[in-house]
């Protein structure tokens, strides 16, 4: 189909988790016949296993389809999927920047949730035309009327004529397609201007190198040209460009302003193709890059170590491979006295951390030991210098600390009113500062808190879910640093500090946390040949103690008529068991002990 800028519609779908974003995307693909029915796999756009299992989209994907509208004209739709989680806010914002409009999917029974708001405001901020759609009207609890009012009242966009659909049942999908044509503006941009193309995603292909997903904002990208990444300065010869078919990449000769497509240019390193960067023509470069680019900074850090020290090179290779597709993952070598060689890894958030950990274990078959996640603390020393600490091991001696500050986030929680008390208890317990509360309707309320990030990265979301029977939704954004009374809590086994178990904690919380960790360790460390004291300490002061009792009898007393092999087998078995343990000083600690310490329940 020939290039007709006013017949292009670039849009994304935004929704809270489980409100039906992926299902609607599938229906759109199906009804525009982009995908033969037999090729339809459930939720085509989410093509990573973990994404499917968790029902969330981690990486953005995009697809181009053709739509023959009721007015007789043919349109090109570029559907750009967005990650649905707060950890990936920046990636969401870049995907939004590639669109002119957003289809806002709201569940007809649940109404607006925390991420609905977060993503919608983000879309509005980017100047996108928001097209509300009320989904799941087939459910018995559906109340589209109420939800449309809610959208108007809370978000402030007209919604009374929002399509009422069931993506699952395929009801009213046609109306959505028509509204995309009529309501979402066509892209602008001059095909003759110097090239400016926005990178909104990329992935590593082992044959072709990095495949970069772009939206051409200005100018024309031609194959066989030389391109430059404006932020990194890296230049490449284009090997192939094309548009994004539903099931494969479709090469073409040029991509013009308003179009969405991909570039393959034998790019080896994904760090050269940062999301948000601008691609321009190296020979006729644009004067300015597109606005909005920033380097994403990890918010949450933890140490990742191979359970078997010999697997260190495998872990490095696995992290390098993951980084090929995920430039927001950072890692650098780190050594722990307790755990040996590993990596200090930085993540956008806790979900990002969990996903990476899970992929390392599942896709690369690695056994890992992960240390407690930490945020970045800003410490002003007595000499006036400022250091940022992402590893408790490096926490300075209290005597040289003039001011300790920790990152604070603004937390937005939406919940049925019945659970307000529970949520307030939780947030107060997590050192949250109450800011505001507003009723969305008679039954639902939105709470705003300012909470130290430190308090969220452990198990806040789980705790929130369990206190609200799963009904509450949650979103957060970084506010800044604030002074705090922080201490470094050390854990000692047999009198020796285990560096991998140290962490930074709010002073008043140290005692309870220390005691809890000691108990957990006691339960998870098998009896040794010696009594093992498990202690928690601040500075030199012991604040909690438990004891792992000594094993008193473990002996093959009888000589079975020269049956040496039986003894030897037992010996080998015990040696194997020992090798699976971490030797911390004179104490053997199984992997699950490290894990248990990370999962401290609140009660």
């Amino acid at each position: 189909m020939a290039y007709q800028q006013d017949h292009i519609r670039n849009f994304c779908i935004i929704a809270h988790i489980d409100h039906g974003k992926s299902t609607l995307a599938d229906r759109i693909l199906e009804q525009t016949s982009a995908v033969a029915l037999r090729d339809m796999e459930e939720q085509l756009l989410d093509n990573m296993d973990i994404e499917r299992e968790r029902g969330i989209t981690i990486k953005a994907r995009a697809v181009k389809v053709n739509y023959h509208a009721d007015n007789g004209e043919d349109y090109v739709f570029n559907l750009i999927d967005t990650p649905g989680h707060v950890d990936f806010n920046y990636e969401v914002s870049r995907s939004l920047a590639a669109c002119e409009g957003a289809v806002l999917v709201v569940d007809a029974s649940q109404g607006i949730e925390a991420q609905t708001l977060g993503n919608t405001y983000l879309a509005v901020d980017h100047g996108l035309e928001v097209l509300p759609v009320v989904n799941k009207i087939d459910l018995p609890a559906a109340d589209p009327e109420r939800v449309c009012h809610e959208i108007e009242d809370i978000i402030g966009i007209p919604a009374m004529d929002a399509p009422r659909i069931s993506a699952k049942q395929g009801i009213n999908i046609h109306e959505v397609l028509e509204r995309i044509v009529t309501d979402i503006p066509a892209p602008k941009g001059d095909p003759k201007a110097p090239l400016q193309a926005l990178i909104f995603d990329s992935y590593y292909d082992s044959y072709r190198g990095v495949i970069v997903y772009i939206r051409v904002k200005e100018g024309t990208l031609r194959k066989d040209s030389r391109i430059r990444m404006m932020a990194t300065g890296a230049e490449f010869d284009v090997v192939e460009i094309g548009c994004l078919g539903a099931t494969n990449l479709v090469p073409c000769d040029e991509l013009k302003a308003g179009e969405v497509g991909y570039i393959a240019a034998s790019i080896k390193n994904i760090a050269d193709t940062r999301v948000g960067d601008t691609v321009t023509d190296a020979l006729a470069p644009a004067a300015e890059p597109l606005p909005g680019y920033r380097k994403v900074n990890p918010m949450v850090f933890c140490g990742i170590y191979p359970a078997d020290g010999a697997k260190y090179p495998d872990l490095r290779e696995a992290l390098e491979k993951l980084q090929l597709n995920d430039a927001s993952l950072s890692f650098e070598p780190e050594t722990s006295v307790a755990l040996g060689f590993g990596f200090r890894c930085g993540f956008l958030g806790l979900l990002h951390l969990e996903i990476i950990q899970e992929r390392l274990e599942r896709e690369f078959n690695l056994d890992l030991i992960t240390t407690a996640p930490s945020v970045i603390y800003r410490i002003t020393l007595t000499d006036g210098s400022v250091v940022f600490i992402d590893n408790p091991t490096n926490y300075p001696d209290p005597s040289v600390i003039q001011l300790a500050e920790e990152p604070i986030v603004r937390a937005d929680i939406i919940s049925p009113v019945d659970f307000v008390g529970n949520i307030m208890d939780l947030c107060t317990g997590r050192r949250g500062e109450f800011k505001n509360m507003q009723y969305l309707d008679e039954t639902r309320v939105e709470l705003h808190y300012e909470i130290p990030l430190n308090e969220i990265i452990y198990d806040f979301f789980d705790a929130l879910k369990s206190r609200t029977k799963g009904y509450a939704s949650f979103d957060y954004s970084f506010l800044g640093y604030r002074p705090s009374k922080l201490v470094k809590l050390d854990i000692l086994l047999n009198g020796e500090v285990v560096d991998a178990l140290s962490f930074i904690v709010f002073e008043e919380r140290a005692y309870a946390r220390g005691r809890k960790i000691c108990e957990k360790l006691k339960d998870n460390i098998p009896r040794q040949l010696f009594e093992v004291p498990v202690q928690a300490a601040i500075g030199g002061k012991i604040i909690a103690r438990e004891t792992v009792k000594a094993m008193r009898k473990d002996v093959l007393a009888k000589c079975y008529g020269g049956d040496i092999t039986r003894k030897k087998k037992l010996l080998e078995k015990q040696k194997e068991g020992k090798k699976r343990m971490r030797q911390l000083g004179s104490v053997e600690v199984p992997q699950q002990a490290f894990m248990a310490v990370l999962k401290l329940d609140d009660d």
Binding site: A557, G561, K575, K578
Partner: protein
Amino acid sequence: MPLGIYIHIPYCASKCRYCDFDSVTDFAGRQEYVRVLKSEIRRYADKGISADSLFFGGGTPSVMEAELLAELAECCREVFGLKGEITTEANPDSADFRWLKTLADAGFTRVSFGAQSAVEEELRALGRRHNAAAVQEAMAAAGEAGFCHRNLDVMVGIPFQNAESLDQTLTTFAGLGPDHISAYLLKIEEGTPFYRERMERFCPGEEETAALYLQTVETLRESGFEQYEISNFAKPGGECRHNLKYWRCEEYLGFGPSAHSFYQGKRFYHPRGVQQYLDTDGCMFLDEGPGGDAEERLMLALRLSEGADLSDLPENQYRSILTRARKYQKAGMVQIQGARIHLTPEGFLVSNGILADLLLEL
């Protein structure tokens, strides 16, 4: 170096309730069994093999006529030019003076009684056939028959045992004039009545059993018995030479079902079951591969109070063991003297764990 010879007698008058050894209570076929044993032994004839110890274990050798055991010993003399220690195990209730005398006259030097306890209630719980008085009679009969090496087996950690009852057993037994006492910690094996009936409920707990073991070491020392292996105690010169071969990683041949051999650097054994042994004419072996490597030697040597000499090891292994041993040395579980290392009674109690650690890098 001369070999040790082990002959398994797979017969018992009845099965004890804790026993996991290969034995049956029908011993009508014992004549045939002795014939097959002799034919197996004779297969080693004319190979210039010599032996200096013979051990009859079981089962219960004393359910066999003394003449049959003597015949087998004679067969070993012919084949291996056997000289030195000849031991038989015996049950106190089935070894009478005539039986003992016949063996002593046939050159047997040592008898080992499965005495287990001097406390009636404990003997009944174990399912033993004999009573405490029978031990005294058997010891007297063995002395009169001419056995100057007499051993009593004692079990530690058995149902209803406590410090007091153990003291009674040890004191009583030491007073009967043995030159050797074996004290085994009860281990409840799967498949035994003890296991099925969850008899551990009536046994002393782990902490208490450990204390009983240390009490045993102490009491026997006071009575003149030095500990020379985890479970073995002897007056000077009373050590069992045959068993020492196992722990010093010397070679031996085992005859009969479930008997293990270590011969020409290889370990192999007959499978369990006397009927199968008879059916296959004693020709069926299971191979266990090479034996006698450094790990094995150390594992065995560290069962002995004399311990192991590390000076022959490669430097890195030597260092690894000594480094790992330090913490046990501090805790009084291991002693290090130059290149020699040995476990103390405290160390013996948890020797599985210590060995696994010390030998981790071998």
